[in-house]
Each structure stands twice: as structure tokens, then as C-alpha cells.
């Protein structure tokens, strides 16, 4: 892949807050038309890595270079203040001036076009998640950063949305940085997997990662065989400033 296809590039990037490394030494890049997935246990620095890639944090260690400003972001957590009267339609227009049919189109792709004039506060968790995803894809971004985009979505919806995400990456030729806990989906739909545990444990194609010993140690032998069972064992702990101590 030639260098002009690179959308964002992290070089030994890390973030230290209150003398504790949240994540350290992450090197990865997202290219056009490719899906890169971050996996790892809770607190392993997945969301932090995504925010570093997006340029939300200012005082980072190492380097991050973003080559595009057309970005769509689905955060893991979003708190919206209800002093704001905000309908789904207003939310869709938040960062981009879209035409009405572009809004309808994006909302129907994620199956929530009927909620267009509803107040954001009245939506269920799954509905809101679909609106968040619709908003991120509606502006036809070069780079999509999706932090657990299907949390709270029903089972059939989850499969459909993952298919939609894969479809979008092909149609728009955009790069996707995905954070997901669903290892089965990750392994079937991803071009490149980065396994985090405060640092990069291992990375590569899904097959390579599944065979990797560190991955097995982190997610368990079973995970690499069935690619679906989610369970992890720690082979190391972190001391107070985030340094790695082998058990």
C-alpha cells in the first residue's frame, strides 16, 4: 500500500495522565478502504488510542499524524445535556451541512429514519447508537473511528450493522478504526488487528494474531481456536506508573 493512502498514523504514541500511562508506545496506521480493529480487555487503552488518533488529546507522547479532516466519530460514551432541545435531525447536522435526502439516506441505512423528528432524549440505547452511527457515516468521511459502535443494539441488528460497516468501507473507500469486543466479527471482517493491553501486545492479520502466543495468553487458548469465546488471562500486571511487570 503506497503512502498516499494513509489516513492516520501513530508512531510510538502514548498518553500519561496523573503519572500513569493509559496507553504507551502504540504504532499503527489506517489506510483507505481498510478496517483496523483494536481489541483488548477493559482498561487496556483502546478508547484512549482512538482519541489519540483523532487528535482529541493534546499532550501526547510520540507522534500522531492525521492526513484528513473528513472524520466521522462514534464515541464509546456520549453524554448529552438535556438543557438542549435537540431532535435527531438537528443532531445529524451537528458538524456538517447535509441535504435532507442525505440525512434520510444515512438514517435508513442504520434503520432509524422513522425517528428523524424525535427528541434525542426519548430514544432507547440501541436506537441512539444507530443514530450515532448514521451521523458518522452521513458526511461520507475519509476516516471513520467507531468505538464499540453496536453496543446495546439487538442481536440481528448487530450483524446487519457490522455488515453495513464493512460495506461502507468498500463503497466510500474510507479507512475504519474499529473498537469491538465481538471477536468473531473482528476476525471475519477486519484487515488488520491490533491487540492492546496498555501497550501493543501483538498485531497483524486476524489469522496471525489468533496464532500469536501473547494473544492466546491475553484472550485464552480457546479464543484462538473458536475465535468467539471471550476470556482473558493476564500474563503480566502493571505497576503504579503503568510499567509492565511479568508475573
Amino acid at each position: 500500500m503506497s503512502s498516499e493512502n494513509i489516513l492516520v498514523k501513530l508512531d510510538k504514541a502514548g498518553l500519561k495522565q496523573n503519572n500513569k500511562w493509559l496507553v504507551k508506545g502504540v504504532t499503527l496506521q489506517v489506510e483507505k478502504g481498510k478496517i483496523v480493529t483494536l481489541i483488548g480487555p477493559n482498561g487496556s487503552g483502546k478508547s484512549t488510542t482512538a482519541k489519540i488518533a483523532l487528535g482529541i488529546y493534546k499532550n501526547i507522547d510520540g507522534n500522531v499524524e492525521k492526513y484528513t479532516n473528513k472524520v466521522g466519530y462514534v464515541p464509546q460514551k456520549i453524554s448529552i445535556d438535556w438543557t438542549l432541545p435537540l431532535r435527531v435531525n438537528d443532531f445529524m447536522l451537528l458538524t456538517e451541512n447535509l441535504k435532507d435526502d442525505e440525512i434520510n439516506n444515512a438514517l435508513s441505512l442504520t434503520g432509524v429514519v422513522h425517528l428523524k423528528n424525535k427528541n434525542l432524549g426519548t430514544l432507547s440505547g440501541g436506537e441512539f447508537q444507530r443514530v450515532l452511527l448514521a451521523r458518522a457515516i452521513s458526511k461520507k468521511p475519509d476516516l471513520l473511528v467507531l468505538d464499540e459502535p453496536v453496543q446495546g443494539v439487538d442481536f440481528t441488528g448487530e450483524i446487519a450493522l457490522y455488515e453495513l460497516i464493512k460495506d461502507i468501507s468498500e463503497k466510500l473507500n474510507c479507512g475504519i478504526l474499529l473498537i469491538s469486543h465481538d471477536l468473531h466479527t473482528v476476525m471475519s471482517a477486519t484487515d488488520h488487528v491490533v491487540c492492546l493491553n496498555g501497550h501493543v501486545c501483538c498485531s497483524g492479520s486476524p489469522k496471525d494474531v489468533a496464532r500469536n502466543n501473547e494473544y492466546k495468553a491475553l484472550f485464552g487458548e480457546q479464543a484462538s481456536q473458536t475465535l468467539s469465546l471471550y476470556e482473558h488471562k493476564h500474563d503480566h500486571t502493571h505497576d503504579h506508573d503503568g510499567e509492565i511487570k511479568k508475573n
Partner: protein, 267 residues
């Protein structure tokens, strides 16, 4: 029937209401009521500076309020004090210093009541020009920064991630607040200007389901407050600034009934 001063008061009030409408919505959305109060209190210091150095009041108030906002931002980064304590510290100390400076300026007779509660009936043609020209400029700049400011009000990280530069929008908005206080201080006074920002916006929140509607209703509410307040102050011989705020309160209470109705309809 109308004396000339009354027409001027009306034109000034209408100008201020059109600007406080949209700005007040952001004050409510971003929870900046006490920030607005602090800037308004510091305006007294601005007025005394204007008298001390024979300077235009609006420009002097604008400079001092911007300075206080800047000091606040610096203090927030450097101390561990909570935001409301810092706001209180700056509000009351700038008010006190302003009053102390007045004590030194014995050669000028100050209308303290006029400063605190406004004297819309004393507005002259220069003031009108400042209100309408300055107000127009404030609205123009607000329109330009609307997208990043509104997006970061909804969610800072989304705005930052999608390249809207919310920090710059926030800094510009702070300057707009200082400018609004500078142009409206003579009309409603420094103790009541925050009321003019918050009460019509709060009323509008009760009636709206979209940000655009809330801004629109907030402007309409402000205009009605000015009209009702000024006419009733003429009829009942009450002070004009407080009458405008009381009219705004009256409209707010009316808007509460509208909420009760819609809740009953839903059930």
C-alpha cells in the same frame, strides 16, 4: 404621546433583546449564568476606569470584562479552586475595587443606582449607535462561529475529533459576552443584565423542541419583555430596567403553564 426619550429607550431595548436572545440560549446551554454575572460585576470597574481616564464607557467595559475573563481562564488552569469559587472571587473583588475607585473620584457625582439597575431612559443617540452597530457585529460573529460552538456545546470530543476547533469558538464566545455586557450595561445595569440573558432563554426552553426554535422564542420573549416592561414603567412610574426583568419573569411563568398542559395531554 411618546416623548423622544421614550422612543430612544424602545429602540435601545429592542436592539439589546435581539442580541441577548441567541447569546442567552448559549449561556443556558453551556451553564454560564454565573460566568455572565462575574463579567457584569466587573463592568463597574470598567465604568470607573472610563470616568477616570475620560474614555468611552462601552469600550472601557469591554476591555475590563475581557481582561477579567482572561484572568479567570488563567486561574482555572493554575489553581485547584472550584470554578464557582473563582467566579465569586472575581465578581465580588472587581465590584469592590470598582466601588473603592468611585470613592477616590470625588469630583464626579455617580449615579450608582443607574449603574446597578440601568437607566434606559437616559440613553442618547451615541448609545443607540453603539447598541445597534455593536449588536449587529456580535450577531454576525456568532453566526460565523455557530457550528463549532454549538457542536462543542452538544459534545466537545465530537467537535474536536471532526475538526471544528471548539477551543477557538469558546474563546471568541467569551469575547462576545464581554462585548454584549459593554453595549447593554447602560440599559439594564450590571445586576440585571444576566437576567436579560437567562430569563427569556429559560422561557424559550419551555416552549421549544429544537435549538432554532429556542433561539427564536428567546428573541421574541426578550422583545416582549422590553415592550411590556417599558410601557408599564411609563404607566406605573416604576424603574424601567427592573420592570423589563419583571416582565420577562411574568412571561417565564406563563410558559410554565404551557408545560403543564403538554404533560397533561401526553398522559
Amino acid at each position: 404621546m411618546f416623548d423622544d426619550f421614550f422612543i430612544r429607550a424602545l429602540v435601545a431595548g429592542i436592539g439589546v433583546a435581539i442580541v441577548t436572545g441567541p447569546l442567552g440560549c448559549f449561556v443556558v446551554w453551556r451553564r454560564l449564568s454565573y460566568f455572565g454575572d462575574t463579567l457584569a460585576h466587573s463592568a463597574l470597574l470598567g465604568v470607573t476606569m472610563a470616568y477616570s481616564f475620560q474614555f468611552n464607557i462601552a469600550i472601557s467595559v469591554f476591555l475590563i470584562s475581557s481582561l477579567i475573563a482572561l484572568i479567570l481562564i488563567k486561574l482555572q488552569k493554575r489553581t485547584n479552586l472550584p470554578g464557582d469559587a473563582l467566579l465569586g472571587l472575581l465578581a465580588h473583588s472587581s465590584l469592590a475595587v470598582g466601588l473603592v475607585v468611585i470613592g477616590f473620584l470625588t469630583f464626579i457625582r455617580f449615579d450608582i443606582m443607574g449603574l446597578l439597575f440601568g437607566d434606559i431612559l437616559a440613553v442618547n443617540v451615541t448609545d443607540l449607535l453603539i447598541i445597534w452597530f455593536g449588536g449587529g457585529l456580535i450577531l454576525l460573529v456568532l453566526k460565523i462561529i455557530w457550528k463549532p460552538l454549538f457542536a462543542s456545546t452538544v459534545n466537545y470530543e465530537l467537535a474536536e475529533a471532526e475538526g471544528l476547533n471548539p477551543d477557538r469558538a469558546k474563546a471568541i464566545f467569551t469575547i462576545l459576552m464581554a462585548a454584549l455586557i459593554a453595549i447593554s450595561i447602560k440599559m439594564v445595569g450590571l445586576l440585571l443584565i444576566t437576567g436579560m440573558l437567562i430569563i427569556p432563554a429559560a422561557m424559550a426552553r419551555n416552549l421549544s423542541d429544537s435549538p432554532f426554535k429556542m433561539v427564536l422564542f428567546s428573541i421574541i420573549g426578550g422583545l416582549l419583555s422590553v415592550l411590556i416592561g417599558l410601557f408599564s414603567s411609563l404607566e406605573l412610574n416604576t424603574p424601567s430596567g427592573p420592570s423589563i426583568i419583571a416582565a420577562a419573569l411574568f412571561l417565564f411563568i406563563l410558559s410554565l403553564f404551557r408545560i403543564k398542559q403538554s404533560i397533561q395531554l401526553k398522559n
